[in-house]
């Protein structure tokens, strides 16, 4: 059954290798982008779970933590909601800072537990005097900072009191300082960007959420574990990654289509000859699709190590640790399946064209 299929693939190494490269690149690209999107998502989920609070509150209309504004009056209202145990204000600023394009600074209350689980690998904790900060170890490595260094940022002089490590690269890629210092440095005035709320017991969570939604409609409250999922920006990022993935696949399909098309131009005479010696169109379609299937299955699988390599590279050079891609089994499966589909779809247009023309026309072409 595979008489001609196997010979076409094995005895035309150039065509086979070129096509395989195309499918491999497409599959790897798709997997990498999905992995990057998933990694980013997981990062935030991780960082939030580190905070150990029950609920997250931010401005309802804000797309990101750093564009959210919560006024002191709202903080007081939140504190007075029955069932609320503790309200922690955090300022999250994402800006150009310390020479980095995109840097996240957390402004924390002195008694905040946000860094309770952090290991200080160098130096000591910052003092809440507004002249000191701690830098995550990824950021420190990227910028070249050590404990005891003095830096100037936004017209202020800071002492780097220590370097911390949390295994959460969103935190490790940023810096933490006193809440007030962050407020004034990034011009938040008396406002806060995000508020973490601790509730008196798990059974009170729903009740507290309900009260907040009712009495403070301009705020948005979500469970900490859900916060990231509802976090529009990252939904957008994930969609964007998937979109890029689809784009990569389109390119694959075009490449495969093009390679097969070029070879079908060469092969038009071959397919026409098969028709002339009595191969039915259906049998020829089976031939072409089988070859396409072989290409895309093999290419999908060779895409896995390539994607793994790229992801590994991303993790190692990821700027300030924002990207920490994860290549999960789901992503690998999705990548292979999509690559196979794309490869097969790519086969169709040239095949249809080859079967539509008069057999003789194609035979004459050679």
């Amino acid at each position: 059954m595979m008489f001609l299929e196997s010979r076409n693939l094995l005895r035309r190494p150039r065509r086979t290798v070129l096509t395989l490269i195309g499918v491999t690149v497409g599959a790897a690209g798709y997997m990498t982008l999905l992995a990057a999107g998933a990694g980013l998502f997981a990062e935030f989920q991780d960082a939030i779970s580190l905070l150990g609070s029950d609920l997250v509150v931010q401005q309802a209309s804000a797309a990101t933590a750093w564009t959210s504004r919560i006024a002191p009056a709202d903080i007081r209202s939140l504190r007075s909601v029955p069932g609320v145990n503790r309200v922690t204000e955090v300022v999250v600023a994402a800006t150009r800072f310390l020479g980095q394009k995109y840097f996240i600074v957390f402004g924390l209350e002195p008694e905040s537990t946000i860094l309770a689980k952090a290991r200080i690998v160098d130096g000591r904790p910052y003092r809440a005097n507004g002249a000191e900060m701690m830098v995550g170890q990824r950021a420190a490595r990227a910028i070249g900072l050590a404990a005891g260094d003095r830096v100037e940022a936004r017209g202020r002089r800071f002492l780097i009191s220590g370097i911390y490590e949390t295994d959460r690269s969103i935190l490790d890629g940023g810096a933490v300082m006193n809440l007030e210092a962050a407020r004034s440095m990034f011009s938040y005035g008396v406002d806060t960007t995000v508020v973490f709320v601790d509730v008196k017991g798990p059974q009170a969570i729903d009740e507290v959420m309900l009260v907040i939604t009712d009495t403070l409609p301009h705020l948005e409250v979500s469970r900490s574990d859900m916060w990231v999922s509802t976090y529009e920006q990252f939904v957008v990022v994930r969609r964007f990654a998937r979109g890029l993935g689809v784009f990569a696949l389109l390119i694959t399909a075009m490449w495969v289509s093009n390679t097969l098309h070029v070879t079908i131009l060469e092969r038009r005479a071959e397919l026409a000859l098969l028709r002339a010696v009595g191969w039915r169109k259906r049998r020829i379609a089976v031939l072409v699709l089988r070859e396409g299937l072989a290409f895309s299955v093999v290419g999908g699988f060779t895409g896995i190590p390539v994607a793994a390599l790229i992801v590994w590279g991303l993790r190692n050079i990821g700027a300030a640790g924002i990207v920490s891609a994860k290549l999960s089994p789901e992503i690998v499966v999705e990548g292979v399946v999509i690559a196979v589909l794309a490869g097969l779809v790519g086969c169709v247009p040239p095949l249809v064209r080859a079967l539509r023309m008069q057999a003789l026309e194609a035979l004459r072409a050679t």
């Binding site: 010979r7 002339a276 009595g278 057999a359 003789l360």
Partner: protein
């Protein structure tokens, strides 16, 4: 093996190319009896290959009607299947697949219809053996000589035991001994099978071997061999 050649009837065949600029066939009427061996002669560009292509249903005429075994070809729903069962074609330019060996090329028509590869292989091998090409069966077509390709192409046309063979200069590029060998094989086939043979040739001796000659000139068909002073004195392939 049944002895049943295909009767061929063509009437009013017309075929033009390049938007009517080239008149390849003009009102060609042709009748070929089952089991007949017909030679088609005529100068270069007179429409011989075009006629064979129409008879093989590889192309369709602009006007006119073709019947194979009394059935109009327009009623044959799957020409590919008809060709697989009844027809063998020897193309003027071989059209072998370069990456396949000689024996694999011969196997090709039968591969398309299914069947055990081993049986098909044996059949193709025997055919090539009988054509004296047994020692070259494992050579890729790309590395065969012109004459060896011709023999392979003839074997491919006969491998399905067709009842109609359309051969476009089957002895066109081989020496006279090989040419004779090919004629012998075709002769053996038509004798045993009773098949109908339509053969284009520029060679008068090959033509005289057949039952009847039809000549094409400027797309028109004439019974017998047409002698004309304006006919090119040198046939291209000999």
């Amino acid at each position: 093996m049944p002895r049943d050649g295909v009767g061929v009837r063509a009437s009013g065949l017309r075929k033009t190319f390049d938007d009517g600029l080239v008149q390849a066939l003009v009102d060609v009427d042709l009748e070929i009896a089952p089991g007949e061996r017909l030679a088609i002669m005529g100068p270069t560009g007179s429409g011989k290959s075009t006629l064979l292509a129409l008879l093989a249903m590889l192309d369709s005429p602009d006007a006119g009607e073709i019947e194979l075994d009394g059935e109009s070809v327009s009623r044959i729903r799957c020409p590919e299947e008809w060709r697989a069962v009844h027809l063998g074609i020897v193309f003027q330019f071989h059209h072998l697949l370069a990456h396949l060996t000689a024996v694999e090329n011969v196997m090709l028509p039968l591969i398309g219809s299914g069947g055990r590869t081993r049986d098909i292989h044996r059949k193709a091998q025997n055919l090539l053996d009988s054509l004296g090409l047994g020692h070259r069966t494992l050579t890729r077509a790309a590395h065969l000589s012109g004459g060896e390709r011709q023999i392979t192409a003839v074997a491919r046309a006969l491998v399905n035991d067709p009842k109609l063979v359309l051969a476009d200069e089957p002895t066109g590029s081989v020496d006279s001994a090989t040419g004779e060998k090919i004629l012998e094989i075709l002769d053996e086939w038509s004798g045993r099978r009773g098949g109908t043979l339509v053969m284009v040739t520029h060679d008068p001796t090959v033509a005289s071997w057949s039952d009847r000659i039809v000549s094409l000139r400027d797309g028109r068909a004439y019974e017998g061999r047409v002698h004309c002073l304006t006919q090119p004195t040198a046939a291209p392939k000999f």
